[in-house]
């Protein structure tokens, strides 16, 4: 039982990483209706920016805020410059565009900051949290930030005019345009917000996985899985999904014999797919009704 609780706790700690990433994934999915494969790389690039700022002597929180602003603007810029011309192109062409963006960002980051692993500071310290050996204060801080972010997003979408406009633009673009919402800019705003959230995820994850151009590869896959598990239409589901995936992954690694680090991912994915087979829209997702 002791082992079980410990593994669940450790799972929640890694789950916080996935939850953060999943939140960013769902945000952009809400805005543009596609999964952005380059999201992890965008987060990685933002994290490098903040690292560079700190190298130049900027304090952690100042670097944090500057990176947030930079990511927001960069997200909007990417949408305006690269993806707006593709609005009318087929969905699969857009996906190819994400893959291209992935390659560009990954390779440029490698050239600018090279591929060596870098230490990244944490604002929360890394002492054991409340005497537990499994969760450090950093991981607890990460969970706290994720939950706070989720609450903030909830209030933004539920109680602000612009949040309402974004929701309208995402779910019924034609009608939204009729009532005077600039849906094209709502998409850009969605990109900006998703990139900013991604950068927060990146900066929180970096102390755990270390900073390097490929740091997001694994995390993004789990983030996608978490988002899909929770239901792509629900930010709350994404966060729950993130924690569930973290716990799944740890328990599978502990209790199923022969599952090393290598097989953890396939098992976690298989489990998620089994859930999806029973609930095709994810745990908290809305069913989409199709008109014939």
């Amino acid at each position: 039982m002791e082992l079980f609780t410990n593994q669940v706790l450790a799972g929640i700690a890694t789950g916080a990483i996935y939850a953060c990433m999943a939140l960013a994934v769902v945000m952009i999915y809400q805005a543009i209706d596609h999964l952005n494969f380059a999201q992890g790389e965008m987060a990685m690039f933002s994290t490098f920016i903040s690292w560079q700022l700190m190298q130049w002597g900027v304090s952690y929180w100042a670097a944090f805020l500057i990176t947030l602003a930079f990511s927001f603007v960069a997200g909007i810029a990417i949408e305006r410059i690269l993806f707006k011309p593709l609005v009318k192109a087929p969905v699969l062409t857009n996906v190819a565009g994400f893959i291209a963006l992935f390659a560009i960002i990954n390779s440029s980051a490698g050239l600018i900051w090279d591929f060596t692993i870098k230490q990244y500071p944490t604002p929360f310290g890394s002492a054991p949290f409340l005497g537990s050996q499994l969760i450090s204060t950093h991981q607890a801080g990460m969970i706290g930030v994720t939950v706070a972010l989720l609450l903030a997003l909830y209030f933004f979408f539920q109680y602000t005019r612009i949040g309402l406009a974004m929701r309208a633009a995402a779910s019924v673009p034609e009608s939204a345009r009729l009532v005077g919402i600039n849906t094209s800019w709502m998409i850009a705003l969605g990109w900006g917000m998703a990139t900013a959230i991604g950068s927060i995820a990146g900066m929180l994850i970096a102390p755990v996985v270390f900073l390097e151009p490929n740091m997001m590869g694994g995390v993004l896959i789990y983030g996608f899985a978490a988002a899909v598990l929770g239901g792509l239409s629900s930010p709350f589901g994404a966060v729950v999904g993130g924690f569930l995936v973290g716990v799944f992954e740890n328990l599978a690694g502990t209790y199923i014999p022969g599952v090393g680090n290598e097989l953890k991912l396939p098992i976690a994915l298989a489990l998620i797919i089994s859930v999806l087979v029973v609930k095709p829209a994810g745990l908290f997702g809305r069913h989409i009704v199709k008109r014939v």
């Binding site: 690269l82 963006l101 390659a103 999806l276």
Partner: protein, 339 residues
């Protein structure tokens, strides 16, 4: 986020409709291309012949994805898994059971068909992004499964297997590479003709009806479950053949040659060639084989970025891939004829 249910309006499908006539080339053009493919290898170096062989092989794999996505509207990121199974079936049969290389190809087609068909069963419940995730899971699991300990005797574990390259039969005076090229070409032509006819047949029409509107298709009496799994099976079978040929051409199979990167490349090949346009598969294959090398030669450090920029250029200029170029060309020829 809103309580109201989302309604996806008509004409909002993931894969746009391609009329079945538009899915192929005319007879004349096809024959010209075939003649070129037959003659060119006689005048080029062995390395180029090898690259042409790989082009045909990847072309087959992209074609298989095209039947699945362009034909039946199902999205897959798991093609590398079927490719791996095909490659391993051939390698294991050739190296452990001494089966003739040509015989391993139908065997791996059948095995992969079965594998794809069975995988298609649970995947029936999923569509769009969810199906992409499920197939993605398959692709990430495959290299790990091939490394499993109890299979190591057969698969060679992480080390993989070395495959012997076949000689030309009947004492034909050609190099191994050239023989393999013609052999691959024969298989490719056979599969291409099969695919074109498949899409023109009753089954092909059923695939396209499902792609365009699943509910409408089922209300017209199309057995949606059967044809969706069938599409998966056929696609996996063809990918398996490509995998087998690939194993023989490269002379080596190892788990890490068949990662998700391969599946993503095949996907890019399909987009560049034009989703749902079968001849485009080979154009797409050329893109995924040659453009990364080109990017590497332009800039070593930034090869990824160069590749990304080139890919962006292609999708900006022709968002519908090579098919768009072909249609433009056709219109141009039509206009010239009128004048």
């Amino acid at each position: 986020m809103s309580a109201a249910e989302e309604v996806v309006a008509e004409g909002h499908e993931a894969v746009e409709a391609v009329p079945k006539r538009a899915m192929t080339l005319g007879t004349g053009t096809s024959l010209v291309v075939l003649a070129a493919l037959l003659i060119v290898p006689m005048f080029v170096k062995n390395f180029i012949i090898f690259q042409m062989t790989m082009l045909l092989i990847y072309g087959l794999a992209v074609l298989a994805l095209n039947i699945l996505t362009g034909g039946s509207g199902q999205f897959s990121l798991g093609q590398s898994a079927f490719y791996a199974v095909g490659a391993y079936v051939s390698a294991v049969l050739m190296e452990h059971a001494n089966v003739n290389y040509a015989l391993t190809i139908p065997i791996s087609a059948v095995i992969c068909f079965g594998f794809g068909y069975l995988f298609g069963k649970p995947a029936l419940r999923l569509s769009g992004i969810y199906l992409a995730l499920a197939t993605f899971a398959l692709a990430t699991a495959m290299p790990q499964l091939l490394k499993l300990n109890f299979l190591e005797h057969w698969t060679g574990g992480v080390q993989g297997l070395v495959v012997t390259k076949p000689d030309a039969p009947f004492g034909l005076p050609m190099s191994q590479d050239m023989w393999l090229y013609y052999f691959t070409l024969a298989v490719t032509v056979a599969i291409y003709i099969f695919s074109v006819n498949l899409l023109r047949s009753r089954s092909g029409r059923a695939f396209m009806a499902i792609r365009d509107n699943e509910i409408a298709a089922s209300s017209m009496g199309v057995n949606v479950a059967l044809y969706k799994t069938l599409a998966f099976g056929v696609s996996a079978g063809i990918t398996g053949v490509a995998g087998s040929l690939g194993a023989i051409a490269v002379q080596f199979v190892a788990p890490d040659s068949y990662t998700i990167t391969l599946a993503i490349s095949l996907f890019l090949g399909m987009v560049v060639g034009g989703v749902g346009w079968l001849p485009g598969s080979f154009v797409g294959a050329a893109f995924i084989i040659f453009v990364p090398n080109m990017a590497e030669s332009i800039s070593k450090g930034l090869s990824g970025a160069v590749f990304g920029v080139l890919l962006f250029l292609v999708i900006y200029l022709v968002p519908h891939g090579a098919r768009q170029v072909a249609i433009l060309g056709q219109q141009l020829v039509g206009k010239l004829r009128k004048n």
